[in-house]
Symmetry: C2
């Protein structure tokens, strides 16, 4: 029986860390070889990390990547290694190398370059035009890279038509809520459409605003799941692929493999390269099939935030973080995420009460710190605030108190957090959520201060959901109930409540999703049943806050459209729907 | 004698301001008609403004643009109007419409979509594939858009080969120092290569970080300048094109127009549409030829900064700005630019002396404000600084004074400027230069606070040059000599000088240009003759400051590579050359 043992290395690389990445890749190769795998695959651009962005304009970066590939090739003995790297030949390509017997035995260059959302691949790469098949261990294999399989008539179809029984896809696919499930559906469809086994190897880890969620999968030729890697963790997924059943299924398949190529496909050159005719070692081993469970949605989002935060901190060579604890839900969930990412001993909370802070807020901050077992500093801002008012009194002569005085307080807190950061080397985590970032209900250089904005892409209503879910995981009130039940407030003036300035979050969040993520017009939002004035006011707030978002720290993308590279709007913009 | 009178409207549109843009376009059409022009041209995407970025994902934005085009078409009577707009037909295109007798008589869709530097056009547009010729007033005309003529075998070549005597190019070409001169050379070469008259209509005005510099030109078929529009100002350039001389030149041209098309060109469909056979009105008028002078380089940069600042402020509906005046050259030039952009009455200076401020700095700020005739507020920061030290003393127990205390002072100033901004509606102008932004010699949330960072792309050495040039223009010491001669200092600790932390700017700036703008490796920079340790230290400073730049306000791009959309580097990045 023809069978191929594949090992998919779902690894967490770091952009530009060639030594570290090579070490990690070689480790995976060794483990896979020991497990009797014929092939080991690695993610897209695993050698240099993804996305390298404008580092790709540095010839010395490209060269370091080629040198690293050479090192990996030398270790490819007794196993075939398929890894992502930057190929250079006149221009540069997002490519996969087939490494065999110590040399580069084959090459595939990504054909579909994504240039939407967070992606800028047309900025860097030339698209490939070759559609090769590699015979490895006697099995005809097509290699594709990420975006390539998101098109129904992409290179995988051409490869399968030309005889490929297994389609390998190496990816670095950024997470958003629910993407893993959508990916599984898509891959299952591709597999059954082409009557081929699909082995999808995703990256895992955080890189600036992106989280790669792992969740690699193998689908058989009927679109049935054979193996699934863990979400948000490194994993080595090993499975035996029953290639004979592909051959049998194709004989029985009523859909004849079409010889007619679509116009686009006609430009792709088809080749066939024999790498090895017989499997290395899988014959004697027992069949292997690994299957991780799939997380529910709030857990998935929570894990993405933990991984994104963990990797941003550590990959930037920080180890401790400091967080302003207001006693509200946003800072509570950020502190909890930080503790899960870094451990209690690496998280410092700071309570910075003002004359407007309620007793409840102060004790809630205190109790949360106890629950999370983190150190809490208490630094009242009153003296500094008085000094500001005093210093500005002459300039402000005749002016009434307004939002200025509220912002001064928020900015004092920002300055204090940064002072602690500068003095002790702690990175400041920002606690603003997506509803605030969208509407500008936040103080630039105040509560927006920080190196990483953990929940900047999490709408307030989802913040509550993931906090509830985290408490369920704990099995007790890790975040105490009083934090959930108190009305959200910035506490920057007497009796202030969010609801004085914003619509209730249950109304606001769906409007924001429609406007920001789905590009719905205000008219269409009203037609969905929302109050006209509320819809208009929300759109106005979003449009007018672009300048603030441009100066915000990065944070984990968890929705289909995050603020940041994902959404590029001009600040100067007179297009108004309000 | 066959002749065509062309009017090129070098207008300043605003993104999304459909009513304003249409009004401006109709005004230009009227003026051109009165001047007896056969054709009036307008810049790339003049209808919606350039670049509209992700507004292009809003169907309602596309529709408003189509409605606006219809209004312009109705006014196209007695003259042919060629304007940029977003064409929609299944997908969207960066297009030019030929408007004639009240209707859309022709269409050209941009073939070369730039997707490098500040450009993301592949993110939005589908590329055109048609290469039409329009007969207007009896003259065969090819239309191209911006990037199209930057390729030597682009659509203009095909159009000229097929008989086009005049090539119109409508552009929105972002400025960098010296680009106008490079553009003139390129257009002259294209014109003489194709033996065609080139009429190049650029946009003018500021849009976020970009400045469009105008400087439209017409070159005859020998590559000789016929007309030139003003730099950095709106202009209507009218010229009579002697089309017969193109015909004559082609008869005499030893280079036969090649019939062989390059592979890429073969995909472009060639068409010929007759719009009008006889000129409207130019017959009886005297020949017209307009030629503006070209500015020297420091003046050019200065004007770009003034225009960029003016437009950012006013297009965002601000009218007054506030600037922290330290007594140094950076804040001096920013205040001068602001005064030139907005008038003295709209600029407020703030002196915020600390215990470390020298007498010279304080009197220099004072005298500069007098020279510029701007209001000066003086707000000492000592009391607030003392309150911070006092408030933090417990948390800082046992720690030595370090950069923390310096940053606290810078952030107090930031908070004070923002308080004035919030209270009085003044936009804060940031005063950091490119050398500081590159090396991170700047305090996040401190001196980086502001809505617009006027000189963020101007290296320190160039700051001095443009300040000197501005004084020459004034004919007296508008910026007094003492500001030029004092050693640069942040004055955040006793006797601090920039040179204690950074290499001298004469050494630093060329290293920065090589590293940041030219992607030179550290090794190559050392090979250029720079000290090894200095080159390595500089590269390290640049790499490690990426996180600060990500939170910086926008500012005018004046170099070939500005920090911002132009340079997209990851924050998490372990690629080190130091």
């Amino acid at each position: 029986m023809r069978r191929l043992r594949i090992a998919m290395a779902q690894i967490n690389t770091t952009v530009g860390d060639f030594d570290g990445n090579v070490k990690k890749i070689l480790g995976a190769v060794d483990t896979a070889r020991s497990a009797g795998a014929d092939i080991v695959t690695l993610p897209e651009l695993a050698v240099c990390g993804y996305p390298p962005e404008d580092l790709l304009f540095k010839p010395q970066f490209i060269q370091a990547n080629l040198d690293s590939l050479q090192k990996i090739a030398e270790s490819a003995k007794g196993i075939t290694v398929i890894t992502g790297f930057v190929d250079a030949d006149g221009d540069i390509y997002n490519a996969a190398a087939v490494l065999h017997f110590g040399r580069i035995a084959g090459l595939y260059r990504k054909i579909y370059l994504p240039n939407y959302g967070v992606f800028d691949e047309n900025r860097y790469f030339r698209a490939g035009s070759d559609c090769p098949i590699f015979v490895i261990g006697g099995v005809a294999i097509g290699i594709t890279i990420c975006e390539d399989i998101w098109y129904e008539a992409g290179p995988a179809t051409v490869q399968a038509n030309a005889g490929a029984e297994v389609i390998i896809n190496i990816s670095a696919s950024p997470y958003h809520a629910g993407k893993g499930a959508a990916r599984e559906r898509m891959i299952a469809t591709r597999a059954s459409d082409t009557v081929a086994i699909f082995a999808y190897n995703n990256a895992v880890g955080g890189q600036d605003e992106l989280v790669f969620d792992g969740h690699s999968v193998i689908m058989d030729e009927k679109g049935i799941l054979i193996a699934r890697g863990k979400q948000f963790e490194e994993d080595l997924i090993i499975a035996d692929l029953d290639v004979e059943s592909v051959f049998r299924a194709r004989l029985h398949d009523p859909r004849q493999r079409k010889e007619t190529l679509l116009a686009e496909q006609q430009h792709w050159r088809q080749t066939r390269t024999v790498i090895s005719e017989t499997p290395f070692s899988s014959a004697g081993h027992p069949a292997i099939k690994q299957q991780a469970d799939v997380l529910d949605l709030p857990t998935e989002v929570y894990r993405a935030l933990v991984l994104g935060t963990h990797d941003y901190i550590l990959k930037n060579d920080f180890n401790k973080v400091v967080i302003g604890l207001s006693g509200g839900i946003d800072s509570a969930i950020v502190a909890t995420i930080a503790v899960d990412a870094l451990g209690s001993e690496n998280v410092i909370g700071v309570s910075m009460p003002s004359r407007f802070s309620s007793e409840g807020s102060k004790t809630d901050a205190q109790r949360l710190a106890e629950n999370l077992k983190i150190k809490l500093l208490t630094i009242p801002i009153e003296k500094v605030y008085m000094a500001y008012l005093n210093t500005l009194s002459e300039s402000f002569t005749g002016a009434q108190p307004d939002i200025t005085e509220e912002n001064i307080q928020a900015r004092i807190r920002g300055n204090l957090l940064m002072a602690l950061s500068n003095k002790f080397g702690w990175l400041v985590l920002t606690t603003g959520n997506k509803s605030e970032m969208a509407t500008g209900y936040t103080t630039l250089y105040g509560d927006m201060v920080g190196g990483f904005a953990v929940i900047k892409d999490v709408p307030k209503t989802l913040v509550y959901k993931i906090a509830r879910r985290r408490n369920q995981m704990a099995g007790y009130e890790l975040i105490q109930e009083s934090i959930f039940t108190k009305p959200p407030s910035a506490e920057l003036r007497p009796d202030q409540k969010d609801i004085d300035s914003l619509p209730p979050y249950e109304v606001l969040d769906p409007i924001l999703t429609a406007y920001v993520e789905d590009d719905k017009s205000v008219e269409q939002i009203i037609a969905l049943g929302f109050d006209k004035a509320t819809a208009q006011r929300t759109a106005k707030l979003v449009d007018r806050s672009e300048y603030k978002r441009r100066q915000a720290p990065p944070g984990v993308k968890i929705t289909t459209r995050a603020f940041g590279r994902d959404r590029r709007l001009p600040i100067v913009n007179r297009f108004k729907e309000w």
